[in-house]
């Protein structure tokens, strides 16, 4: 898998655990132990109440498409062979939203509110990307 040429996530001390769980094929985010808000992207404090006490809760991985775009031209050489491809914002069942790719559906059939479910793409030995497939 050393031939993967696309940009990888920039892993830092705020998001290292998130990507570690992804490697184990678990979608986990920080839930504030004070107010219950689930935040994303990962960070040291809750943007709602500023508590620094949080737990990494496992999410169902289910959600629906909040919005999406379809790249018709390549903005990066490593994606040239993927055109057309989609980047979507997923509304997760538990509340937060995240960007990802949608698999298993033709771009022409994409719609806002299409139900999706997480699946993990092991792109390198170190990194697994949470992606989403359309479900009926």
């Amino acid at each position: 898998m050393t031939s993967y040429t696309k940009p990888l996530p920039i892993i830092n001390d705020d998001n290292r655990q998130y990507w570690g769980y992804c490697k184990q094929h678990e979608l986990r985010m920080q839930q504030c132990n004070n107010c219950g808000y689930i935040r994303f992207p990962p960070g040291i404090l809750c943007p709602r109440c500023h508590s620094m006490d949080a737990s990494w809760v496992k999410l169902s991985g289910r959600g629906k498409i909040y919005s999406f775009v379809v790249y018709r031209v390549s903005y990066h050489p490593s994606y040239a062979d993927d055109i057309p491809y989609t980047v979507a914002v997923i509304q997760l069942a538990e509340g937060p939203r995240m960007e990802s790719n949608i698999t298993g559906i033709k771009v022409e059939d994409l719609k806002v509110d299409t139900p999706v479910e997480v699946c993990f793409d092991d792109v390198t030995d170190e990194v697994s990307l949470p992606k989403f497939k359309a479900v009926s």
Partner: protein
């Protein structure tokens, strides 16, 4: 507390060559724009005692102190101010505060960047997402635009009106990158789709260029070379939230609160606004901002925005230089400087009033928007 209404004025604007201008540093654009603004105001180099710069997005080497150094100025008020595309409007507000309180007499505000020729991945990683192939601000705004299509049924039918109207203004502006290139509705539809739902002409074109303006007190302004343009009202609102979690992609953006504050300070209503210079990094941005300022209700852009109204001869003149879409992408400096030029009566063929069969404005609303609608500033400027 005393209001800042009419306490400060913009007294100089400076331009540089713009579009594709290879072989130049970002710093050089700051300097040339600054030089031209000082000359436009009829000031001497030594008069400048305040400097605010907007850092180049792709070139961190340009700092406020470096610009001061190369300009040969010794200032007593200095900072780099970065609120993305909202920076020019924010600079004007900080500068107004500084001169009103005697911290400086003449605050020079600059931006410059070799964004087109010198930077390979301009704005690529604004909010992350590269690991999913989310490259460039256009896609981030296209996500917002798609959501607006879903929520209130807007789309290319509305956006084409903005693109075509602004192109008609650009065709009257020799400085505009699209000066010699007219655009029809068919041209808009025929343009290639870059990132759905945006076509080429929904997206502004980044530019190698710089721009600057100078703020001083209303009192000092009256003794200078050019007719002063007074800052009547101002406001900022920065929703800041990462666009993934944002609730404002379909409004209300920062235009709403910053606009309400600015109008309240100015003591006027939307009816008094003679023209709008609205930050237009993408066509949809204009639709949502004008909606949030209150010119029309939620989702009513498709009825309000007609190119005949927005262009020369129309009753709602919009982005009269051609804007970011058709003049040049100079961040918030493009709408701000155009408002100044119009209120001075120096806009030539595109001058609001008799030359373009439009109402001659006493007051212009200037909006600046940045990030993915994460920052916003509003200015109300008057003659």
């Amino acid at each position: 507390m005393e209001s800042l209404k009419d306490k400060a004025a913009i007294v100089g604007v400076g331009y540089t060559p713009q579009g594709k201008v290879p072989g130049r540093t970002s710093l050089s654009f700051h300097l040339e724009a600054a030089r031209n603004a000082i000359s436009d105001a009829g000031l001497k180099i030594q008069d400048i005692d305040g400097l605010l710069i907007q850092p180049a997005m792709g070139d961190p080497s340009v700092t406020a102190a470096l610009v001061a150094q190369y300009l040969g100025v010794r200032v007593r008020f200095l900072s780099a101010l970065d609120a993305f595309g909202a920076s020019a409007g924010c600079q004007a507000q900080f500068a107004a505060m500084a001169v009103a309180h005697g911290l400086a007499n003449y605050v020079l505000c600059t931006y410059g960047e070799n964004a087109r020729s010198g930077v390979s991945e301009y704005g690529a990683a604004l909010n992350g997402g590269l690991e999913y192939g989310l490259f460039g601000p256009a896609a981030c705004y296209a996500i917002a635009a798609r959501r607006a299509m879903h929520e209130f049924g807007t789309g290319p039918e509305t956006w084409k009106e903005i693109a075509v109207a602004q192109r008609r203004w650009a065709n009257l502006n020799p400085r505009a990158s699209m000066y010699t290139r007219p655009m029809t509705y068919q041209d808009y539809y025929d343009a290639r789709i870059l990132v759905e739902p945006f076509r080429l002409f929904d997206i502004c074109q980044i530019s190698d260029s710089g721009r600057a303006f100078i703020v001083t007190t209303a009192e000092r302004a009256r003794g200078l070379k050019k007719r002063p343009v007074y800052i009547m009202g101002m406001g900022q609102d920065h929703p800041a939230t990462n666009p993934q979690q944002a609730t404002f992609l379909t409004g209300p953006t920062g235009a709403k609160l910053s606009g309400e504050q600015a109008l309240k300070m100015a003591g006027i209503t939307l009816k008094d606004i003679g023209a709008c210079e609205i930050y237009d990094c993408f066509t949809y941005t204009v639709e949502v901002e004008l909606m949030d300022y209150g010119f029309y209700g939620r989702g009513e852009g498709k009825d309000f925005l007609k190119a005949g109204r927005l262009g020369p001869g129309g009753d709602f003149p919009l982005n009269t230089s051609g804007g970011l879409l058709s003049e040049a992408y100079q961040m918030g400096f493009t709408p701000l400087t155009e408002a100044v030029v119009q209120l001075r009566g120096e806009a030539g063929d595109r001058q609001l009033g008799a030359p373009t069969r439009t109402r001659e404005p006493e007051v212009i609303l200037v909006s600046n928007n940045g990030g993915v609608m994460q920052t916003h500033s509003t200015l109300i400027l008057r003659k």
